[in-house]
């Protein structure tokens, strides 16, 4: 009897200990996140001013602002969006609505999952070989955007498919029963219903693309080019590459410029994706099928 009591007590002690141990792991994760956010906000805010955001860099990037860099990043992401969204959304529609249950579909799914894990520098090599050299776009906005298109494609496909799958099939069947063709049912009924999910998934994917450095490093981002790109065939400056340059390639950069750049990058990427994520969960709660 006492033996069983002791065993029960021991088991409870072990449980309490393990709760603390696993809780400590969570605390470490949260601590890391808070440290990252806190350090960037505290060190980054002093460098932020209207002048910093809207003027060109000067004195070998040791003074001035980051206006061409912000614009370059936005242009790159916009161009990527124009290229990747139609392809990704159509591929998502294929998987959710058209794909037969066969070996080809299985291979498509495996390829998408595998593409998501290909290192970004490998996409860079691919973009360099195909878009920069073979297609002769040169180091340019277009070559970088095409490279980022390949990199972002799996994210867009997966989130589109997931959004479409949450639409109940009653809607589809009602549309088909009214005489709509398959595409009209998708276009008029299913896509509008799935739009919030598709939009937020796309924003999340594109904000990741905005932070990528390695692929654009070899396909078009300029070390220093203090003017705005004038066509899709010109080089451009970009926030993540600029941060890399300031942090490791240029000596004696005033810290508020480097931290300010990091702040703008993180704020841009994470605020956009957090708003998108929050909006999605609100939408999910609002619409109950």
């Amino acid at each position: 009897m006492s033996d069983r009591n002791r065993r029960a007590r021991n088991a409870r002690t072990v449980e309490a200990v393990m709760k603390v141990v696993t809780g400590a792991c969570v605390a470490l994760v949260v601590g890391a996140a808070v440290l990252i956010l806190g350090k960037i906000v505290i060190s980054g805010i002093p460098g932020i001013s209207l002048e910093f955001l809207f003027s060109k860099p000067g004195m070998g990037m040791r003074a001035g602002g980051i206006f061409p860099i912000i614009v370059g990043t936005l242009m790159l992401v916009t161009l990527t969006a124009v290229l990747v969204l139609p392809l990704g959304i159509m591929a998502g529609i294929y998987l959710a609505e058209y794909a037969p249950k066969n070996i080809v579909t299985r291979i498509v799914r495996l390829s998408i999952a595998n593409m998501a894990g290909v290192p970004s520098i490998v996409y860079g090599l691919f973009g360099l070989a195909v878009f920069v050299l073979l297609m002769q776009f040169g180091k340019s906005l277009l070559a970088s955007a095409l490279t980022l298109t390949c990199l972002t494609l799996p994210v867009i496909i997966t989130s589109t498919e997931e959004a479409l799958r949450q639409i109940p099939s009653d809607l589809r069947q009602a549309a088909l029963a009214l005489g709509a063709t398959r595409w009209r049912a998708i276009y008029k009924v299913i896509l509008p219903a799935a739009a919030p999910g598709i939009v937020t998934g796309s924003i999340l994917g594109l904000s990741r693309a905005a932070g990528e450095t390695a692929p654009i490093l070899v396909t078009g981002a300029a070390f220093f080019l203090p003017r705005l790109p004038d066509s899709v065939f010109s080089q451009y400056m970009s926030l993540p590459y600029h941060l890399y340059v300031l942090a490791t390639q240029v000596p004696n950069v005033p810290p508020e410029i480097t931290w300010g750049t990091a702040f703008v990058l993180v704020a841009g990427v994470s605020i956009v994706s957090m708003i998108a994520g929050a909006w999605r969960s609100v939408q999910r709660r609002k619409v109950k099928w």
Partner: protein
């Protein structure tokens, strides 16, 4: 103007025919887009190989893979990948030591010990960590971790495999936690209730029933974290010091495969031997991550089938 029934029917069939035609065009487009991912993945492999051909012919794949020295610009030029491969493995090993226990521990706590609101909070925290660009992790490492490693271990330089590995470990946490948590979440509640009804404590239930049931998913999460760590470029480029010498311990500077490509691609002659060798490095990297990802996907697939009833 009056419309006769035949005209009306004619108009309707005209519209139906047009819609059918549009349907066929759109179906073709959608099928093409659907197959695009296979095409891109194949194209990556093909073009890496095409560009690597010159180096494979002139230096030889075996010589590159077994070479212990990396002097791409010396005379004679020596292209041995071992320093780079071992550098990548060492950094990834350090990352593994960080993200396996912390990641799985955190996933267990979030899935098994915490309330709904806390799960939502942690989802945001993990989303934030995944959203921070790798160059920012690299920069934070340069600003904070390099001086800390240097002072704590009394080294002449804080740019070591340890520094890069610690940052990589943190960067891989979101992947490991979210996939492991999904796997734990997918374990049917009936199993938990059965175990608790037999008198097990929550923890006994977790480590005897829940974790073993979710083990394949957790394994897949670790694999994907590993793939992410091996393929990560900017953070390791900024933090490991990039000395192309086979390291003997984690307090030495290392040069990884990814860092080598990123650092040297800007200085090579396009189409030259060095350029081609860097594509061979890319090919090796692609081969490693492809294998890891494929294995993880197959394991995840099997797990999904297991609980689908």
């Amino acid at each position: 103007m009056t419309v006769t029934p035949t005209e009306k029917a004619g108009r309707l069939t005209g519209r139906t025919t047009r819609r059918r035609a549009a349907e066929a065009v759109i179906r073709t487009l959608i099928y093409t887009a659907g197959l695009l991912s296979i095409v891109i993945l194949l194209a990556i492999a093909v073009f890496l190989f095409v560009e690597a051909r010159k180096s494979i012919a002139e230096v030889g794949l075996g010589t590159m893979l077994s070479g212990t020295q990396w002097f791409p610009t010396g005379t004679p030029r020596i292209f041995g990948f071992l320093p780079l491969i071992i550098g990548s493995l060492m950094v990834t090993g350090v990352a593994l030591v960080v993200f396996v226990p912390v990641g799985i521990g955190a996933a267990v706590f979030i899935s098994e010990f915490s309330a709904g609101w806390f799960k939502e909070v942690m989802k945001s925290v993990i989303e934030f960590m995944a959203a921070v660009p790798s160059v920012v992790y690299g920069f934070l490492g340069v600003a904070v971790l390099i001086p800390w490693v240097k002072a704590t271990f009394g080294l002449t330089s804080g740019m070591t495999a340890l520094t890069g590995g610690l940052v990589l470990g943190v960067m891989s946490l979101p992947t490991v936690i979210s996939i492991s948590e999904d796997a734990l979440h997918a374990v049917p509640d009936a199993l938990r209730q059965g175990s608790l009804a037999l008198g097990n404590t929550r923890w006994q239930t977790i480590y005897k029933v829940v974790v073993p049931s979710a083990s394949s998913g957790i394994f897949a999460g670790v694999m994907l974290g590993l793939g992410r760590a091996i393929g990560e470029t900017m953070a390791v480029l900024m933090l490991t010091g990039n000395a192309a010498v086979i390291p003997t311990n984690v307090f030495e500077s290392v040069r990884t495969m990814t860092g080598t490509i990123a650092a040297e691609m800007g200085e090579v002659v396009f189409g030259g031997l060095h350029y081609s060798v860097l594509f061979s490095v890319g090919l090796v990297l692609f081969g490693i991550t492809f294998t890891i990802n494929l294995a993880a996907d197959l394991v995840l697939e099997r797990q999904r089938k297991r609980w689908r009833r």
